[in-house]
Symmetry: C2
Subunit: 335 residues, 2 copies
DNA sequence: GTGAAAGCGCTAACAA
DNA sequence: TTGTTAGCGCTTTCAC
């Protein structure tokens, strides 16, 4: 079933069929109807590979660090909603967590498949690497703060979010507030990554409140396991912290588990705050104080920006969402 | 940067380069080294689209209902681990939950992109539709119980798992045990889907224990929202159930939230059991009794089966994993 | 508005 | 073992 079959069935040229498929300029309504009818009758579907050889693939690639974080679906769904109407299909690849090599392979896989646009969620690669990709493929980077003239940026104001969370704990009366951060495996160590911003802002806010001596960071990862491991490290200190600000809800969940194992009550003994306000955080049994950022809007915006770039926009755009604090039962005044 | 560039740089034919790329038979070691060197020097990467026109894409497509269920990553990671060494890239598409049209589009997207193999996780499509796809593309279906001569099946013994969960609740002394099921949007309603099996087995076990009068099923969906809504429905009955068996952990989480809102304690007033034993279930604050199925093994097996099919196997294979019960604090004797 | 024909980058017959 | 060459199914000039 090829474009030639459709053409001969409709008694027209392949050019005509191709134009109808792409809604291109220069087809009479009569021609269009005839071709459409033939397509439906034969159940024809264009092969993406053949299209890719000359034109578009109508595919948007999304690079995710992994699919374990319940915050990512919000972004992906927003993106899908935005581009589906334009006939684009979203495909996802996993970057493999905190190893830059696995991530590079995943990005290359998308480039090799000639996707029309790429959304990278919190990529670890160096800015140079990202710009190399963006030079050939329309790219939106989500969750990094540096400015680029080559790709678009969609991000949360992580400084504001961190100020909200840490400020909330300080306002409750906490002084020994520890932080669980993500250690990036890259040697280039892009300081613009959201987890670096959150960690830096935590230290700044602590210092501004005269709490520099109480700064304690466990650099593990934004995963449940990372939160668990990080909390065990933090609890080894004497005196132990009275509050933990985890850079992501997933890590906060791990922290809750570790605290429970250590026989500590939340929030009576230790307060815990997270970031992302995932649906799990709202569960009554968890009731995690968290910083909310609107993933759906971020995804939709990223989709719109990609479509604009596919259509030819060359200037670069930066879109920032403002986070809010959602206080719940996991935070309270210190014992 | 094309295969021609590499060929001329290495002073050989494009055929030679192509053979080296595919590790095909009939290249001398000297030739191979020379081509490899040229490839590295030029940073050449083959275009998937051009390969797809003639041969393989080295791509495995995974169809997921969505990426919100923490059980799916286990499967996908197992699959990735298995096929990565053979040079295959895993791409994921979302089927769009419970609507068969969105799912069909997602499957078509994979077929259009000429992936070498497809793993479908709990697809809603009719068996006929699946077999049409499988006729052209090597296919493994995960989570459906019917037998097919055209595609391979990987599944959990959902009957055994359900017997474990419901049996556990009965052994604790419960009689009014309700169930949260998934309502499939398809008209063809494939009775072989895992959620249908779990619901049917629940009814069978209840009947076998003389509890047919206490059968109560809320057919919503295997999501947090579905569990929440289903539980509200179930609590409307008088007398209300003393235990809820949710067909998936995600739904159980929604049930926990709804019970909390209704002022009921778990497990003092109502016991809750789930299915999948996701990492969230193990969290101390949740401590959800759940049925464990080994997602990593299922994923790895699916990967192996796909590679075998790509290599030419035509007979069909069926792989069943045996679930186990993980009792936790969310289940206890009735009040 | 419509169609003929070239060519995208690969792979696989086939020839040497 | 190596190279020549004919396509795969589309899109896109460029005539008409």
């Amino acid at each position: 079933m090829t474009i030639t079959d459709v053409a001969s069935h409709a008694q027209v040229s392949t050019t005509a069929v191709s134009k109808v498929l792409r809604n291109a300029y220069g087809v009479s309504p009569a021609m269009r109807d005839r071709v459409r009818a033939a397509i439906d009758e034969l159940g024809y579907r264009p092969q993406a590979a053949a299209r890719a050889m000359r034109g578009r693939t109508f595919t948007i690639g999304v690079l995710l660090p992994h699919i374990r974080n319940p915050f990512f679906p919000d972004i992906v769904d927003g993106m899908t909603e935005q581009v589906a109407d334009a006939g684009y299909q979203v495909i996802m690849v996993q970057g493999g967590g905190a190893t830059p090599t696995a991530e590079r392979r995943a990005i290359e896989a998308l480039v090799d498949r000639q996707v029309d646009g790429i959304l990278m969620i919190a990529p670890l690669a160096s800015r140079t690497q990202l710009e190399e990709v963006a030079a050939t493929t329309p790219t939106v980077v989500l969750g990094r703060h540096e400015r680029s003239a080559v790709y678009d940026s969609v991000l949360d104001d992580d400084e504001a979010g961190t100020e909200l969370a840490v400020g909330h704990l300080i306002a409750l009366g906490h002084r020994r507030i520890a932080h669980i951060a993500q250690k990036d495996g890259s040697r280039s160590r892009p300081a613009a990554l959201l987890h670096a911003i959150r960690a830096r802002t935590y230290e700044r806010v602590m210092t501004e409140h005269g709490l520099a001596d109480h700064i304690a960071v466990a650099a593990t990862s934004y995963t449940e396991e990372g939160g668990h491991r990080g909390t065990r490290q933090l609890l080894a200190a004497t005196p132990r912290p009275t509050a933990i600000f985890a850079g992501a809800d997933m890590a906060a969940f791990g922290a809750l588990a570790a605290l429970h194992e250590a026989g500590l009550r939340v929030p009576a003994d230790v307060s815990v705050a997270g970031y992302d306000n995932t649906s799990m955080a709202a569960l009554a049994h968890i009731s995690l104080t968290s910083v909310d950022q609107d993933g759906a809007i971020m995804g939709r915006t990223a989709g719109r920006l990609l479509l604009e770039r596919v259509e030819g926009r060359a200037s670069s755009v930066r879109f920032v969402v403002t986070p809010t604090l959602v206080p719940r039962a996991s935070t309270a005044p210190p014992p």
